[in-house]
């Protein structure tokens, strides 16, 4: 247990089970950005120097974005849409600007809501003023649309790398610093353990799980996310084995702290969702169904109601 990173153990607790451990952490997945190399080099950009600041990122997006004869984005610089790729963009930028979903004691929703509004305005500026991101992404298959070249860059986790690298020539970079502090989204993958009627099987089950965890080097280098075990992270060959495209995803683990909020309604606080409360409020504004001014009051009101439920 002492070999697991603090972050992974913290995220492996589930409020619905009285904050008990509900899974054995296997990998930690931080969000970074993927860039289509063919489109970037075609636009004259140096893919060995990807953008890491907000200003540089804006310049890259303006260069990557192309318009057809009718003025439609084809492709857009950023694959944003109005769904889970939008919620994570808002969530990351909002955190970088100082917003927090709850207070530390989990009693009050929305710390520094002005930052949340600034993050929303940044998104609308990207979509409508600078016109370097597109709403026209099929949210049910954003991966298909990115593969088809609807957008040249995508903020995503390492779970897509095995599939994408077979189809696209990609490079990766850490999420640019749009605000003042570096943060990014973190998701934990693990092995869930279920109760068994024959309790004598628990010892053998945990032995198998421990073996999988002890031998998760390949899974956490070329398989999927970063390691949740300190001993694996400390191996001198860890970063070199992960490959260059995975390096930003692993480096990002140092500041990837936008994880689940440990309350019973945790799903509604996730910044990576196509159906929860955040998605409903954000997509309503992005599609023009609600004005910008209602976003934070309505979102914070709904979050507060959920926090009051425990």
């Amino acid at each position: 247990m002492t070999d697991f990173t603090d972050n992974s153990l913290r995220l492996a607790r589930y409020p619905n089970f009285d904050n008990g451990l509900y899974l054995v952490p296997m990998d930690a997945m931080a969000m970074a950005q993927l860039i289509n190399v063919n489109q970037a080099t075609g636009a004259g950009l140096d893919v060995t120097q990807p953008p890491t600041t907000g200003e540089a990122w804006n310049a890259w997006m303006r260069t990557l974005t192309r318009y057809d004869d009718q003025g439609n984005l084809n492709p857009a610089g950023m694959t944003m849409g109005t769904d889970f790729s939008a919620t994570d963009a808002w969530g990351i930028v909002a955190y970088q600007m100082g917003f927090r979903r709850t207070t530390d004691d989990l009693k009050t929703a929305c710390v520094n809501p002005e930052a949340g509004t600034r993050a929303l305005r940044w998104m609308l500026d990207t979509l409508d003023t600078q016109r370097v991101a597109t709403r026209e992404i099929n949210a049910n298959d954003i991966y298909k649309d990115f593969t088809d070249g609807h957008g040249s860059s995508l903020w995503i986790g390492p779970w897509v790398l095995s599939g994408f690298t077979k189809q696209l020539n990609l490079t990766s970079a850490e999420i640019p610093l749009i605000g003042t502090e570096r943060h990014t989204y973190l998701e934990l993958g693990g092995l869930q353990v279920f109760t068994q009627r024959d309790t004598s099987r628990y010892a053998a089950t945990m032995k198998a799980i421990k073996w999988l965890s002890d031998n998760s080097f390949e899974w956490t280098t070329v398989g999927r996310g970063g390691a949740a075990r300190k001993s694996i992270l400390a191996r001198p060959d860890y970063l070199s084995s992960a490959g260059t495209i995975r390096k930003p995803f692993i480096d990002a683990l140092q500041y990837a702290d936008i994880g689940p909020v440990p309350v019973t309604a945790a799903a509604d606080f996730s910044i990576y969702s196509g159906s929860n409360v955040l998605y409903q409020e954000l997509s309503a504004v992005l599609t023009g169904s609600k004005p910008v001014e209602t976003f934070m009051p309505d979102l914070c009101g709904r979050w507060q109601t959920l926090l009051d439920q425990g």
């Binding site: 619905n16 089970f17 009718q70 439609n72 084809n74 849409g81 109005t82 769904d83 709403r135 026209e136 992404i137 099929n138 949210a139 049910n140 298959d141 298909k144 649309d145 088809d148 609807h150 799903a267 196509g274 159906s275 409903q280 997509s283 309503a284 992005l286 599609t287 169904s289």
Partner: protein, 300 residues
Amino acid sequence: MVRVAPARHAPRHPLRWQGERIDWAGYVFVLPILVPFVLFTLVPIGFGLFVAFTEWSIARPPQWTGLANIQAALNDPQLRQAFGNTLRYCLIIVPSVTLLGLLFALFVNQRWPGYVFARAALFSPYVVSATVVGIVWVWILDTQNGILNQYLGIRIPWLSSTSWSLVGISIASVWWDVGLAFILFLAALQDIDPEVLSAAKIDGAGRLQSLRYITLPLLRPTLSLIITLQSISSLRIYSQVHLMTDGRPAGSSMSVMNYIVDFGIQRFRFGYASAIALMLFALILVVTLVQRRLIRERAT
């Protein structure tokens, strides 16, 4: 004096019911369908009805909450949107499928050259699986590279726009469902006695008059069946929505069934999901009863 023995009832035979001999073999033959029907249909329905009045997240036993789920559902704006979308699906898909199915059947019934191929081609979408339909139509309706936009010379964001996502899914659904309506209408058309149409022709009725005063009235039972089946299917729409947009963007294409799955399976709120399912059942029942009343099956 003749003594008449008092009347006696016939002895009760264990293998008789109201005087008729019970054929137990019949019940035995029905058992293989009856037992699974009870176990896998009636029992789950009953259990679902119970769960609708509880709060159940599967991690703990269900807790009785009475009408709380129904009240929450009535005050849920996203659910109202889902019901509105579902009714819109029904209003688009049912008339389209019915009309197109009838037109296709009338065309094939003429037996013009190529009718055999047309019959197969028009019915074949119906046998395709929902997964294939969803995936193929996502490609067809793609904003930038989809063939529909390419051939029509337009740029409609069929699946990524709040204005068009429901229409895009409806197009795919009509394409998928029209085969059944077509084949049912065709069978009904072929069942019409040709002498009736000949007699009308002799009496001077033109094609359109025959269609209006003879064919369509005789198709009334089939029309009623198709509208009923298609209405139920449309109100329960799920696969196409799940595969093509999953109710997005911004819930503009969300159907009630997708909402039920979202709450029941993804959020582990089985009580609330069951309550919504109960409301959907009530809606389908009302719509079906109204339809059956309005489109009576008697052929004139």
